[in-house]
Amino acid sequence: MSNYSEESIINYLGPYKGDASAVLRSLQLVQDLLGYVPDSALDIIAKNSNVSRAEVYGVFTFYSDFRSTPPAKVVVKVCVAEACQASGNASLISELHDHGYDIHNGSIKDDIQMEQTFCLGNCALGPAAMVNGNPIGRATCERIFAAAAVVAS
């Protein structure tokens, strides 16, 4: 995933050339392509959008979706917001912790990364989780790891 060239990124960013309003979309595009936003991409985007690197960096660091390092093969998002708290997500979080995952720090183990998120919009079937974009309702460790195994295979 990390095989990229400056040229290929610039090609993809072509439609956004000179468009200062496309900084966020440019970052999203790079992350869609590579799985993360390498430091060098910030310069490329700055040049392409005709804004300063500082401005691109400011946008990059504001939004929690962006990563500066490659993600694990499987990314699990676990909801920590109120509706899932009410549905007993504390025991799920502590079980995941027992498996070696601290969702508050986005820890990676065995090619699985566990991250916290605030609301996945599945608030009547909590605890809610998402495994590489696939929603899991009434989430348990078993259901999460089973889904992770499916997407990893």
């Binding site: 309003s21 959008s49 400011g58 939004y63 109120e82 708290q85 996945l120 599945n122 608030c123 309702g137």
Partner: protein, 514 residues
């Protein structure tokens, strides 16, 4: 050929709906049955998902909580003829949960194929747009004003008045921005409508565009909603292809283009001015108001910003007339509200009703109490910035003013139910923690107040100088309420103060301490 309906709503997918659809198609083929599987939105009875429906001469028969491995058994028992089975609910339209609702905005969700324009039209779609095209812009705005429709995103501002401002502001370019950054925990109506009936939102946005003279529309959807984004993009492509969008909407000569923009994991971008900044590609920093976005909005141009539910109510208002919509509701809360029952609730999901039902009836009668079976301790209404209400508020009517009078707020209509195991000091602390995490950082009360708030609550719970720290917390809440630029810092004190007022024992307040 038997029609079998399987939802593709995210909530249904989260319980295995895709696997169920595959299993039905595989096993039906093996057994020589001819079936057509139609993927729909969800009926909003989320505790029954995956809910499979079969078309029969009597109507659609439902089967609840189906899993892929029960499919062979279900087929053998006569699923395709609507035969009885342990999981059979009978006619879905006759279920009390649905029968007692007034589905206007959600009329088609769960029933039609979200991407079939033919389905949409045969269920009343595009009627509002056709009516709007025949009217003058001022007349469309008048209809929306008369309907009494207020912003469903939380602020409750009259939609027609906002539209009127944009209509009469001269500009070479105007925009319609749909706020689909549904970040409040306990809310999912926007997502379910976008996944289950996207053409309704598209139609509402086109009508808004025609009404105020805007030719460009943007839908800002949060990145946590990948399925909604996918369905919207497909629906927009269909609408373009059929010239419902584009240079001449339904041959009227009026132009309207629509595009989906995706958020990047920021709660504050649901605040309208932060959303504008994000749409302009910048950090989601809140703007000071005035000027209001209706005058100076996206790229400095006059902009209508409405929530998904607000815009989705518009086609029905134009189709059936303002008076029809206006006839529902109480006082100044007109029309229907799409309530979302969430958290620890037995029957969670979508409840669309005229304003006026009491909180107690909504959570106890409609929702059936908690999922855990324990007593309800509190309900948080309106997301992370909404107040916690207790049993003494069961008689409060669900409406903008009535809830405000009870010290709460309607917000986006989400209700998160908690049972008696919840510790309210933890919830108050979380409210401050969440604000610290998601604050855009522009104004001091929110940026710093939230962090200090966590610390003060910790000291109160630890029993340190409680009187002094309670006074400090009160003072802090006052500064945040009065001194924050937007609702993020301004409303965070709501859950904190209400938790403390209702459940001081959870904070370990010693006797004699005030």
């Amino acid at each position: 050929m038997t029609k079998v309906f399987v939802p593709m709503d995210s909530a249904a997918l989260s319980m295995g709906a895709n696997e169920v659809a595959e299993a039905i198609s595989e096993h039906a083929a093996k057994s020589g049955y001819e079936v057509t599987i139609v993927r729909t939105g969800s009926r909003g009875m989320l505790w029954l998902e995956p809910l499979v429906e079969v078309e029969t001469t009597a109507g659609r028969i439902g089967y609840a909580n189906i899993s892929a491995d029960t499919v062979p058994d279900l087929l053998a028992a006569g699923l395709l003829s609507g035969s009885s089975h342990d999981s059979c609910l009978g006619l879905v339209d006759e279920l009390d949960f649905l029968k007692d609702q007034t589905r206007i905005t959600f009329a088609r969700v769960g029933i039609i194929d979200p991407l079939s324009l033919a389905d949409y039209e045969s269920h009343g779609g595009l009627k509002g747009l056709r009516n709007a095209i025949a009217l003058s812009p001022a007349k469309i705005v008048e209809e929306v004003t008369e309907s009494g429709l207020r912003g469903r995103g939380g602020a409750g501002f009259p939609a027609g008045i906002k539209w009127n401002t944009v209509l009469y502001t001269e500009s070479d370019q105007k925009y319609i921005c749909c706020n689909a950054d549904e970040g409040d925990s306990g809310t999912f109506a926007d997502r379910m409508l976008m996944e289950g009936d996207p053409f309704t939102l598209i139609e509402g946005m086109i009508i808004a565009g025609i009404a105020v003279g805007a030719t460009e529309g943007l839908i800002y959807v949060r990145s946590e909603y990948p399925h909604a984004i996918d369905v919207l993009n497909q629906a927009i492509a269909v609408a373009n292809e059929h010239k419902i969008l584009g240079d001449s909407v339904l041959g009227s000569g009026l132009k309207f283009n629509l595009e989906v923009r995706v958020g990047a994991g920021s709660y504050v971008c649901g605040e309208e001015t932060a959303m504008l900044e994000s749409l302009e590609g910048k950090r989601g920093m809140v703007r000071a108001k005035p000027p209001i976005p209706a005058l100076v909005g996206l790229f400095g141009k006059p902009t209508v910003i409405n929530n998904v539910m607000t815009l989705a109510a518009v086609p029905m208002i134009l189709a059936d007339g303002a008076s029809s919509y206006q006839s529902f509701g109480v006082d100044r809360s007109r029309g229907t509200q799409v309530f979302q029952l969430a958290g620890n609730i037995l029957r969670g999901g979508i409840v669309e009703l005229p304003f006026g039902i009491t909180l107690g009836d909504l959570v106890n009668k409609v929702g059936g109490g908690t999922h855990s079976g324990r007593p309800i301790k509190t309900v948080q209404i309106g997301g992370p910035l909404g107040a916690y209400l207790g049993e003494d508020s069961w008689d409060v009517q669900m409406g903008y003013e009535s809830l405000a009078d009870a010290g709460g707020m309607l917000g986006h209509g989400g209700l998160v139910v908690f049972d008696d195991t919840v510790n309210m000091a933890k919830q108050a602390r979380f409210a401050m923690e969440f604000c610290a995490e998601e604050s855009c950082g522009k104004c001091t009360p929110c940026r710093i107040g939230s962090t200090r708030g966590v610390e003060v609550i910790d000291r109160i719970v630890a029993g340190e100088e409680q009187s002094k720290n309670l006074e400090l917390l009160e003072d802090l809440c006052e500064v945040m309420t009065d001194g924050s630029l937007c609702a993020m810092g301004g409303l965070t004190p709501f859950p904190v103060r209400s938790a403390l007022k209702l459940f001081p024992a959870d904070f370990g307040i010693k006797s004699g301490v005030k």
